[in-house]
């Protein structure tokens, strides 16, 4: 939408008296060296958060972040500088610094043109303004009351509400200029339960690229409070988790963090361009059973990981990573796509203007299969059913990945029995999906809580999957 560009211009350029011809001037200066490509990234962000603890609104904070990053690329070399001051002098200085990556002269004469994005996957709202302060505080108190109402064993409730409003404008040396307005809200409830000196915790939450109404629809946020208490009470009764290699059934939704760690990072373009990923050079090869089709989809409306345009001005896309078990493609930003002779898949993302873009995931999920979830569990004689997870991590070179179950149960003779304590699962990325023998018909996306870290940069992401069975993976319990 060209209106996005207008909104972004008004928010970012107008207050600094910057016009497009000023950007042309910076770009000309950038390209007055042996530079293949350059971009200027303007960002203005507002973040507001509220925390309830001990039944009172203990903390509130408001953060203002703005600035501009200038990048110049020459072959595989990147020069980068940024400034918190949005204005022509600081822009020209950042440009001079960034272009020092290449020395000798070249062409110039760029004229920027707005290219309207075809679609946008969220509305250009300011989520901070979608609810009054009193409304936000009232919601937090209701979450506290709802959690405590569930069970007298609840001794502590911490509830938080966060809203972020980001406006970005990307001007590129190929003349493309695009803008985006990115709302993001997040709510979380964490509880401690105590029973005869034994304590446990539970946590639940969600979020979206929407306004705060998202949390009121169908009492969604109250559901987080109930869910956090339910998880904590389950864990009070948990027995030691098993240790060793066994079949594991992963529940739908958030356990899709498996895909993010096991294969997602390994399919990011930078690692594959450099040949440091366990998936390098494996396009067209079988990396999963025929039940598995995995996509990275920035185009889901309102999801936490969705992007109308990425941080390099490429429209968000739905990219097939694995189709019926065959590796189809990598996720690219512009630099790595160019160096590998292909096109960006709209995965060029950066934490802020002060960070360089790189290939990152958006919403990564597996498409539904044919199996009934009940039958998947019934097919396991002895194994683990894991339904909630904390974070994960991967070594993309060796391919080894972990993800930590926070709610899991034993499966004995096809039936779910005792809850077990949290345990880390470890596997090998290129192998794990070749051991997926059943895929459920119950695709769910996560509730909107994911944050992915790579090389010190955090970005919001989504994951999802149907119930699926991995025939063999190592479970890190104590029993």
């Amino acid at each position: 939408m060209s209106t996005m560009i207008d909104i972004a211009r008004n928010a970012l350029l107008l207050p600094a008296n910057l016009q497009d011809h000023h950007l042309d001037q910076v770009m000309d200066q950038l390209l007055g060296a042996k530079i293949d490509a350059a971009d200027i990234y303007f960002q203005s962000g507002r973040l507001e958060s509220w925390v309830l603890e001990d039944g009172i609104i203990k903390e509130g904070s408001y953060n203002i972040e703005q600035g501009v990053g200038v990048r110049a690329i020459s072959g595989e070399k990147t020069g980068f500088a940024y400034t918190d001051e949005i204005g022509l002098p600081s822009l020209l200085e950042a440009g001079r610094t960034a272009r020092a990556i290449a020395r000798s002269g070249g062409q110039g004469g760029i004229r920027l043109q707005g290219v309207p994005a075809d679609r946008h996957y969220y509305d250009p709202i300011n989520p901070l303004e979608t609810m009054t302060e009193t409304g936000k505080i009232d919601l937090l108190h209701r979450l506290d009351a709802e959690a405590r109402r569930q069970d007298p064993r609840v001794t502590q409730v911490v509830a938080s509400l966060v809203a972020a409003h980001d406006v970005v404008l990307v001007a590129r040396s190929d003349g493309n200029i695009s803008g985006d307005v990115r709302p993001l809200v997040r709510c979380n409830v964490h509880v401690i339960v105590e029973q005869q000196g034994k304590r446990e915790q539970g946590s639940s939450g969600g979020g979206a690229r929407q306004g705060f109404q998202f949390f009121l629809d169908s009492e969604r946020a109250l559901g987080y409070a109930r869910e956090a208490v339910r998880q904590a009470l389950v864990n009070l009764d948990a027995v030691a988790a098993p240790a060793g290699t066994m079949p594991v059934v992963l529940g739908p939704g958030w356990p899709g963090v498996l895909l993010h760690e096991a294969i997602g990072h390994g399919l990011e373009g930078d690692f594959n361009r450099k040949g440091t990923s366990a998936f390098s050079g494996r396009i067209g090869q079988r990396v999963a059973t025929e039940h598995c089709t995995v996509v990275d989809d920035a185009t889901l409306p309102g999801r936490r990981g969705s992007l109308s345009v990425d941080d390099e001005g490429t429209p968000g896309k739905n990219t097939v990573l694995i189709e019926k078990g065959i590796l189809k493609g990598y996720m690219h930003d512009r630099l790595n796509a160019h160096l590998m002779g292909t096109e960006s898949t709209g995965n060029g993302r950066r934490e802020s203007y002060a960070h360089l873009p790189m290939p990152r995931m958006t919403n990564t999920y597996m498409l539904p299969g044919k199996d009934d979830p009940g039958e998947i569990i019934a097919s396991v004689a002895k194994g683990l059913y894991a339904v909630n997870f904390g974070g994960g991590q991967v070594d993309i070179t060796s391919g080894k990945f972990v993800f930590s179950a926070s709610e899991a149960y034993l499966i004995e003779n096809g039936k779910i029995t005792s809850p077990v304590k949290g345990a880390t699962l470890i596997g090998n990325g290129p192998d794990v999906l070749t051991r997926v023998s059943m895929v459920g018909n119950d695709l769910e996306l996560d509730a909107g809580v994911g944050t992915c870290g790579k090389e010190g940069q955090s970005v919001p992401v989504g994951v999802g999957q149907p119930t699926l069975k991995v025939d063999e993976i190592t479970v890190g319990g104590t029993n």
Binding site: I64, K77, T78, E200, T245, S404, T474, G476
Partner: protein, 444 residues
Amino acid sequence: MIDMKNRQAQLQQMVEDMLNEAAIQGASAAEAAVNFDIGLSTSVRLGEVETIEHTRDQGMGVSVYFGHRKGSASTSDFRPEAILDTVRAACNIAKFTTEDPYSGLADAARMAGEQPDLDLYHPWEMEVEEAIARGIECEAAARDLDPRITNSEGATLNSHASLQVYGNSHGFIGGFPSTQHSLSCAVVGQQGESMQRDYWYTSERSPEDMESPREVGRRAGERTLARLGARQIETCEAPVIFQAEMAVSLLRSLVGAISGSALYRRSSFLLDQLNQRIFPEFVRIHENPLLPRGPASAPFDNEGVATAPKELVRDGILRSYILSSYSARKLNMETTGNAGGVRNLTIDSGELDLAGLLRQMGTGLLVSELMGSGLNMVTGDYSRGAAGFWVENGEIQFPVEEITIAGNMLQMFAGLQAVATDVERRGSIRTGSWLLEPMTIAGS
């Protein structure tokens, strides 16, 4: 080069402007912090420049108190009107937060007085070309080590100079410049179909204290080579050595568990353990925030409270929690000057070096890498992915991967057998390798 003295005066003025504005807005108390960081980051890969980043980060934050109602705001925009807007945003927030009798500044009597020079500022006047040359030398040392080093993620040199200024309405204002320089290298080795990657880095306040580029590259290469041919082992129980860099994470968990915020929320596995034995008798853990050139040294904490050396664990007994003024008031105690965390926490080493520790263990697992975040802070239940080496008769036999280690933090602490002399010193926590009693190792 930035004139840090002049810049510090500017930042102090900003802090004073913020505190003044808070008073004008009717706040009964306020505190403000400003930081400024300027740096150069160059990375090379396969002998060529990959990125040159000129970094320049700044931020300021303010907390205002209207009686016991608190509001906070922060910004990266340093224009005078933005500073005032930020203070007003904090005041607006405070209209909606609840009266909290425990909130407020730390006691005026605890503010740092004369602030010692901790020798933290050693700027590096370095041209971009020199930074690149060091990276290239470092990476080459790793790549030239062995033909099995087949690829590289490159070498990165970072050099930063920072200023931090904090002030509050007690009239305290303090600030100090510091520098941090690091060089890191990561290379990939190949054996058959499988690849392994490892890295090494040096990080110091002063460039003269850094390991040489060749040394960093050599260690990165050696660590990668050592991992080649790694395999799973069978599920078993065995003693475990956490190599020094990994043992840091165990002490970090201790810090989390004895921190005021976890204690007053009753979300710690070390609840009500003050003056109780949590480690064997030989264990002594102490903090020295005033360590010259220390990576986490500071003359005052994030609330202006004077820092001082102290013991946290003596004779295996927990002697002190880690408290800010807020968590201290919640627990009816006194702040320990730890707003912002621990500063140069150290566990005393025993007599043995790592080789000696391996001999003491005999047969077991040496953990050189941990993956994931599998610690339940409420119960202490621990389960993490790991890689390392299988050890028999005190000798490394082969590299191990795709395993987990699991146990409970309380038992792991109580079962600490020895701490080696190979002290990791690059971060805010310093320790040698730890030998622990048997843990559950899950593998094939």
